[in-house]
Symmetry: C2
Subunit: 336 residues, 2 copies
Amino acid sequence: MSTTITLAHGAGGRASDELLREVILPAIGEGTGNALCDSAVLPSPGETIAFTTDGFTVTPLFFPGGNIGRLAVFGTVNDLAMVGAVPQVLSLAMIVEEGFSIDVLRQLGREVGAAAREASVRIVTGDTKVVGKGAVDALFVTTSGIGSVAAGLPKLSPDQARPGDALLVSGTMGDHGLAVLAARERLSFTPQVRSDCAPLSPLVQCLLGAVPGVRCLRDPTRGGLASVLNEFARASHAGLVIDEGAVPVHSVVSSLCEILGLDPFYLANEGKLVAIVDGAQAERACAALRDHPLGRDACCIGRVTSEHPGVVVLRTHLGTNRIVEYPTGELLPRIC
Amino acid sequence: MSTTITLAHGAGGRASDELLREVILPAIGEGTGNALCDSAVLPSPGETIAFTTDGFTVTPLFFPGGNIGRLAVFGTVNDLAMVGAVPQVLSLAMIVEEGFSIDVLRQLGREVGAAAREASVRIVTGDTKVVGKGAVDALFVTTSGIGSVAAGLPKLSPDQARPGDALLVSGTMGDHGLAVLAARERLSFTPQVRSDCAPLSPLVQCLLGAVPGVRCLRDPTRGGLASVLNEFARASHAGLVIDEGAVPVHSVVSSLCEILGLDPFYLANEGKLVAIVDGAQAERACAALRDHPLGRDACCIGRVTSEHPGVVVLRTHLGTNRIVEYPTGELLPRIC
């Protein structure tokens, strides 16, 4: 086999078949039986299911703390987790540029397989297309996923929020966005900023098991915390008040954001969640999150109020109030 | 709103939200409630489900008889139909180039919505990413789908084939591949060659309802009929004998293939199926297919034999035998 991807690898003939059987499936760790057939046939994971899809265009493909393969698995796993589902099966669709290294594809396949095992999901179906040189920037990945939703799980949606509810985050903000930016721009810092990309479903199950009053969950990816808070405020028709000093940010992220003129509230995260919970259960919710390694920096960052509906107000370090604007432009493209 | 896609439309903030609510959802015909949330929560379509994904990179985006939107819906619907599933819900992930026309995106959204209604499926979740100018050629679409599998449906797989079984096709071969090639190369013919792209699940349900002895089904897309026949031969460890004169090809496709030096056996189809059925039920199977408008040209093209296992032999018009090779190169990239 050649060392780079050719158009023949996408033509549906012998080369496609070899690429699948000899490179992709062994790397992911799936057998060559019915794995990655056009369609997988499987028992439904439950009476109620969650279904999601996400495209990944991150550049560079590898960055400190992760790569496009891990991101593609965890991103879809996390979208399922945010509606309270337990992720079960994923699909993997890749669009590859002619000339892409087969060794790198194999390496990314291994990352996908390892990430799937880490997140307790199976890759059951897939598709690989090859396009000519220049028609795509190296490799784009789209994953879709199905999860099981427990019977009786209350609806998790920002329209469930009520004044007095508490806002929680599971950890530090901005790590992923800054790690990708630094890798892309070849900025080197000590200590290195690493992506937080991780599968959040076990953390969500801890939280849901400990606290009945979870109103909604969201992973602050594109647009960061600022985007999620604004979505919450709009959908709930309530106001949000955030205590700037309470929002956890790694000191290195904070310093670099100051130097680069970035705001960690607007940077993407790939292993964090934002939750609205019943105010009376906020302490218990924080404790449940902190019990899990991915939630050890969890804390309460604010509350839902009946004042200024639809608006997110930040109480700053200086004791002043300012509005957290909904992101309007694009500071950092291709962060996920 | 601007008339073209900007990076801000992919940033997860206000512009992304506006694009979704004001362009994509209305075009598809989905409400702005929970439609196209990160994850859809829905009742499972059945105890056994089918799950599939497919990426679409076709160029040009519009071609006689179809476009990337219809192709993305029907391609995934057909992958589900080929395992006997009734397609139920789809996801829609788009990767769009900065500068893409919002009007064209709206038009393609309408095509997706109309195709989904035609195929009786709902688009329940999605994702839109924007990448910088030059990072993708205009627009790539990845759809995933879930279908319900009836209890007691026999396993449809080429390893179920037995000597004496019949090979059927549901109609003419090569229309889609030639239509896209002609559109891309701006070749104009009279009559025009049109893509056959269509949803095959109703046709499959007709066949399965009429004939218990269906062994397997496949839609001959990339690599065409030649690829499917070779996959069947390999997986069944049987030989296949095909009667060249029995394979239906539109006269215009046949003439053009001769002029262009192409073989319709290797051209993609997007609204046709190949079936292996119990030889004793071949006539009934053909009749069942012909009862449906998408199968009116259905016919028996050959049989499974215990001779030359793994090899597809063509009985030519001249009465000679030749081997139908597994496609090894790429004649026509980006056909789907």
